[in-house]
């Protein structure tokens, strides 16, 4: 009621500087809850990460004697990082050696399959696409035991091969499905023209379809990279050898290894993981967001 009255009076009076100022105040007041929300949001999202970064710069002594929210005494205390790095470097190498070959395979096989399912014409392609789609619903737990048996019998459990093979298979359903969707957007005439110019189907896949899809491929590669890089279940199951652990499994061990005694290196190890991803994310964030949500809506 009060607002109605002030409204009508300010309308009736000629808009002098006083009423303008009042309107400015009111606008700020109306937007105040919004600003409050954003502030709280930023604190909630950013503070844990800042706290982690600060923690990685603290000495063991500061951890034991200072309150946890206090700042580190020195911002150039990096010895936690060198301690953490000596342990994490090997795990990182394993992750890279397992994830990138799998990523390459997923992209190559997935794009080719998407092309065959969407551009080429044959009976049963709808059913085949559905077959791939079913893979998105299957929990990883369902294929764990048979695969472990096979890898064990083949003597692969001490190597990174089980991870490369399983990651490729796990990545395929979503990749094939999204690729098929992307190919739908490319006019068929492009491929028909190529055929008239004498290109075989294989040739037009490698020389035309693959380069044309460069952007989509990058998007899917990023999404798959985050899925595979962050995997714990498969890496935990198939790496029985400590020297073959990936970053995620290694990180899990890190706390156990240093226990409650070594806070700084633990924080630094977590930080290394977060910073690595941060670099990639800052460079490519728009694409990551778009790719992940596109995958979600269609999956």
């Amino acid at each position: 009621m009060a607002t109605v009255i002030t409204n009508s009076t300010s309308l009736a009076a000629d808009p002098g500087p006083a009423s303008q100022r009042r309107r400015g105040f009111r606008k700020v007041a109306r937007r105040l809850p919004g600003y409050l929300c954003v502030t709280v949001l930023l604190v909630v999202v950013v503070y844990p990460l800042v706290w982690l970064l600060l923690g990685s710069l603290k000495t063991q002594d500061e951890f034991l004697n200072d309150p946890t929210y206090s700042l580190p005494h020195s911002f150039t205390y990096f010895s936690n990082y060198s301690t953490a790095w000596s342990a994490v470097a090997g795990y990182l190498r394993n992750s890279v050696l397992a994830v990138f070959p799998a990523l390459g395979l997923v992209i190559l096989l997935g794009t080719a399959a998407g092309f065959a399912l969407e551009v080429l014409v044959w009976r049963g392609r709808g059913a085949t696409l559905l077959l791939f789609l079913a893979g998105i619903m299957i929990p990883g737990q369902m294929i764990l035991l048979p695969l472990f048996t096979v890898y064990f019998k083949l003597g692969l459990t001490g190597t990174l091969w089980p991870l490369i093979i399983t990651y490729t298979a796990i990545g395929l359903p979503l990749t094939v499905f999204m690729m098929a969707t992307y190919f739908r957007a490319i006019p068929r005439e492009v491929f028909e023209a190529a055929t008239l110019d004498g290109a075989t189907v294989i040739r037009s896949f490698f020389s035309i379809a693959f380069p044309m899809m460069r952007n989509s491929i990058l998007t899917i590669a990023l999404v798959q990279f985050f899925f595979l890089w962050n995997d714990l279940l498969i890496a935990l199951t198939f790496t029985t050898d400590d020297t073959k652990r990936t970053v995620q499994v290694g990180l899990l061990n890190f706390t156990g290894q240093f226990g409650v005694v070594q806070y700084g290196p633990t924080f630094a190890a977590i930080c290394i993981n977060v910073l690595l991803i941060l670099v990639l994310y800052v460079v490519l964030n728009q694409r990551v967001m778009r790719g992940l949500s596109a995958g979600a809506v269609k999956g």
Binding site: R31, L42, F115, I138, L233, M289
Partner: protein
């Protein structure tokens, strides 16, 4: 032209490798896993035929029902939390931040791509009670409530799991739902505002009905993900204290690899798969009736 695009050899060459890989490493193991449910033992001890014993064990297992219950409770709570927080954020992006929200969207989305294990360890330290007091307990101390042993009881551990998983994923659902909200034509919102709908009424009568499809797909996506959740819980609480935060995924993992019982592990995995299928079918049915009135 059709004959060129229908060339069998090219189809086999392009589709073959992917199909072979997928069949050998996903489809075949799935069927194989079904076979395991009729056996006892593991790859190390050897297998022997057990008939339906594993299924009978399923009904007598005192640990199974709590695991199913936790899985469902987790899926429901986290889904509600994720989608509600995401929806709230997307409305904030749409009405308050408008076009200037890029930086905030980017920041809020960042936890989504972080490694789950790293986030779990971070939250473990953040909510730590002993030997080091984490910031949360310091804050509670300062307010006068006193520190809480967050990982000492099932209920409190669940609260931390929920906070962490919602923190981790709300940015994702915010972007997803924001994209859905952007699809609503501006004129529609403007004309509704001219007709006197504002604030809560605008949201309730215009925005929510129009964004229902993307809300539904968010819920389906979230349920599908949360039923299979493993990493975050395993890294944060390890299923404890006791087995009070053990979902089916983790229970299956423990049965198979800690106790070496592949047959029963496969049976638990099958139970999980069936629950996933059932929930998906139910949701699709329910939403189809809602969105297509006849």
């Amino acid at each position: 032209m059709t004959s060129v695009f229908g060339d069998k050899r090219s189809i086999a060459l392009l589709l073959g490798p992917a199909l072979l890989f997928y069949s050998l490493v996903m489809l075949l193991p799935m069927l194989w896993s079904l076979g395991y449910t009729f056996f006892n033992g593991s790859v190390i001890t050897g297998f022997d035929f057990a008939g339906l014993a594993n299924f009978r064990k399923l009904f007598d297992d005192p640990a199974l029902m709590p695991a199913i219950w936790f899985t469902v409770k987790y899926a429901v709570c986290i889904t509600v939390g994720q989608v509600l927080m995401g929806y709230g954020l997307s409305l904030l992006y749409l009405f308050f931040l408008k076009h200037a929200g890029g930086v905030i969207r980017t920041l809020v989305f960042f936890p989504v791509v972080l490694p789950t294990v790293a986030v779990s360890l971070l939250f473990q330290k953040f909510f730590e009670y002993a030997p080091q007091t984490g910031p949360v307990n310091s804050l509670l101390d300062a307010v006068g409530i006193g520190g809480i042993d967050w990982f000492g009881s099932a209920g409190k551990a669940f609260v931390v799991i929920a906070i962490m998983d919602i923190w981790r994923s709300m940015g994702f659902y915010a972007v997803l739902l924001y994209a859905g909200l952007l699809d609503i034509p501006d004129e529609l919102i403007e004309s509704a505002a001219l007709d006197g709908a504002n604030g809560w009424r605008l949201i309730k009568n215009i925005i929510i009905p129009l964004s229902l499809p993307v809300l539904v797909s968010s819920v389906v996506f979230s349920i599908n993900g949360t039923l299979k959740a493993f990493d975050s819980i395993y890294a944060l609480t390890g299923g404890g204290p006791g087995t009070s935060t053990t979902p089916l995924t983790l229970y299956m993992f423990q049965t198979s690899f800690s106790y070496g019982d592949y047959g029963y592990g496969a049976t638990v995995a099958l139970t999980l798969t069936l629950i996933c299928l059932l929930v998906t079918v139910v949701i699709f049915r329910a939403t189809r009736r809602d969105t297509v009135p006849r």
